[in-house]
Amino acid sequence: MAEMATRNEMIEARRPPDQRRGALGWLRANLFDGPLNGTITLLVLALLGWGLWPLVQWALIEADWLGSTREACSGEGACWVFISARFETIVYGFYPEAARWRVDAVFLMLALLIAWLAIPRLPAKRWVGLFALVGFPVLAYGLLIGGHFGLMAVPTREWGGLMLTLTIAIVGIVGSLPLGVVLALGRRSKMPLVRGICVVFIEFWRGVPLITVLFMASVMLPLFVPTEVEFDKLLRALIGIMFFWSAYMAEVVRGGLQAIPRGQEEAAKALGMGYWRRMALIVLPQALKLVIPGIVNTFIALFKDTSLVLIIGLFDLLAIIRAGLTDSNWLGFAIEGYVFAALMFWIFCFSMSRYSQYIERRLHTGHRN
């Protein structure tokens, strides 16, 4: 054999012979790697120059920011005065000015709760979570509706704007999550009748559009109850939304239940636990943790769909902005209005989807260990 048999001195590691580093190397590798990629890069750049620059100019550079009346709009770029002039309404709806501190208090409480639940390091998640699901809604409702402890009563028809959007979203999730868990358990039940009812319930809501559900809630629901009973419009919408989303929630939770190995339940059985203990102590805690990303994604969908209440005449964030567009003093600001509405929803949804991705990554690494 002509080749050497043993190496006694090790070869030191060397730097790669490269054309691929530094800013130029990066450009070459990622943007101009061959004629096809180079062409694509130039096309994309042209597209950006053609589309993005006028947008920036319109939205930022030539836009009007200051003022409070229509005269402040120069007409060259966007006129954000339209938004700032009615910002209070966009946030609080028709909520009486004197009582708006109550809304602020609820907002603050909500922000604290979410921060506590979202930051993994903080302790006592279980109790804070329980409070968020039970205590907070009751407290917030009492504060917002008023009519006791010397608080002025504010009926729900005066609720609106961002505050109403958040109310619908929170009630939607707080209502649909527990119902969804029950439905998911029911769908896996060994009792045919229980399983059947749950399957029909879930598949029914998943098969119809939310609008028809809202229509049903607003025109059919009043028919189902005795004539004397007065049914709040917001409450009707909330019931529809809760049922609708509980079906989606149930499917998410079911995915988590299926991912828990059979051995977990068998072990719990072997320890002598009954059905509800097994579920509450062993299976559900694991399953729910596993599907947090799915729950957050469902919540994002729910949040986006709160805007549909506009169609049955509730004044959520979108509806308030839309109503502002018909103000005869402020005609012709449709672009500004809808862009702002889009931005508001986008900020909420994008941050939630980022959070869900973060949790997903954490879960993945957690499982490997």
Partner: protein, 392 residues
């Protein structure tokens, strides 16, 4: 067996089988009670409001007009006909939306995997922007902020004096078949048949001799060439009815109403952002080892894609894609927010308001969507069963 020896039997209420039976019986009773309560309440309410139940109203004269209809419709038509008109309009915008959303979605999804950094970033930005803005906001934006801001018919934007875009919608020329045009249609049918048999023949040829024909190129040639040749030989027997301004509006051609355009654009762009994610994750779900193995047995790139990557990616993509299609169909009901005459806007909107037959109308509307969902899900299950990976 514990239950076989009666001496070891515990009290009846601790027997799991008895418990299950009792629970289900109570549940059934409760459910029946609830239904009974609702029915009595409803009947009482309907009587109090003087509404008669039943589907009789479907035969009555509707008396309102609908801005877009695929079948003959006038104010003299019946409420039953409004149901059909609305349903067809729903199917129209859903079909158009599915096609466009699929095209954009696949393009963006593949672009996200591009090795070109800029293109991949652009695609990611598209996805992150459009899937995080409510569809309703997007529909309203396109309709009120873009299409309603277009000029009046007199100042239309036009392309080659044949396409006109204005606040009333998009006017496009309408093809009018002249005598002799049937020949082109026949040629098209013939070409289709030829392509099908070519594909079959090519497959048989390959099985027999191993030779591969350039089926795609030949097929495209036949499919385009043959009808075109016949069309030219027969003296181009197709006239175009051009839209033309007359007075304050356009006459002739086909008008795509702005409501349809806004809804179509918004549905497609929104759904495409989800489809793009599905396509990306589907392609990424095929393990790298599969591509390596294909390379190691020297399969060329296009065959690797066609025979190894795509079949495996589609298995992941198709079920999710179907559920996006269903979402799109359900979401087309947002039409009602801008007055596009879909099933919900026409039937569950105007017709319901005029007749007050809430229960019948909502039930019929929901039944349509449920039926579509069930049919599509059934087809999906069939597909899944067929493509299921065989495992131990």
């Amino acid at each position: 067996m514990l239950r076989s020896s009666s001496s070891e039997r515990g009290p009846l209420w601790r027997d799991p089988a008895v418990r299950a039976l009792v629970i289900q019986a109570l549940l059934l009773l409760g459910l029946l009670g609830l239904i009974l309560l609702m029915v009595t309440n409803t009947l009482a309410n309907l009587e109090a409001r003087g509404i008669t139940t039943g589907l009789g109203f479907l035969q009555e004269r509707a008396g309102f007009s609908i801005p877009q209809s695929l079948i003959d419709y006038s104010g003299d038509s019946t409420y039953g006909r409004t149901f059909v008109v609305g349903l067809l309009n729903t199917l129209l915008v859903s079909g158009l939306g599915i096609v466009l959303a699929t095209l954009i979605g696949f393009a963006v999804g593949i672009a996200r995997l591009s090795s070109n950094w800029l293109l991949a970033r652009l695609a990611t930005t598209y996805v992150e922007i459009f899937r995080n803005i409510p569809l309703l906001v997007q529909i309203l934006f396109w309709y009120f902020a873009v299409l309603q801001a277009l000029p009046s018919p007199r100042q239309s934007l036009s392309l080659f004096e044949a396409l006109f875009l204005n606040v009333r919608g998009l006017m496009v020329p309408a093809p009018v078949a002249q005598p002799g045009f049937e020949a082109t249609l026949w040629a098209l049918a013939l070409a289709l048949a030829a392509v099908v048999s070519l594909t079959l023949y090519a497959r048989r040829l390959q099985v027999r001799t191993g030779k591969a024909l350039p089926v795609y190129r030949l097929g495209a040639l036949i499919l385009i060439g043959l009808p075109l040749a016949v069309f030219l030989i027969t003296g181009r027997p197709l006239a175009w009815d051009l839209p033309a301004l007359s007075g304050f509006n356009f006459k002739g051609g086909i008008t795509v109403i702005p409501e349809l355009m806004a809804l179509w654009l918004a549905l497609s762009i929104y759904t495409a952002s989800f489809i793009a994610e599905i396509v990306r994750s589907g392609i990424q779900s095929v393990p790298q080892g599969q591509v390596e193995a294909a390379r190691a047995i020297s399969l060329p790139g296009n065959i690797t894609l066609r025979k190894v990557v795509i079949p495996q990616a589609m298995r992941v993509i198709v079920p999710q894609l179907t559920s996006q299609y269903l979402n799109l169909i359900k979401n087309s009901s947002l039409a009602t927010a801008i007055g596009y005459p879909d099933l919900v806007a026409v039937f569950a909107g105007t017709t319901l308001n005029q007749t007050g037959q809430a229960i019948e109308i909502i039930a019929m509307t929901m039944a349509v969507y449920l039926l579509i969902s069930l049919v599509v899900s059934a087809l999906m299950n069939l597909y899944n069963a067929r493509t299921l990976l065989k495992e131990r």
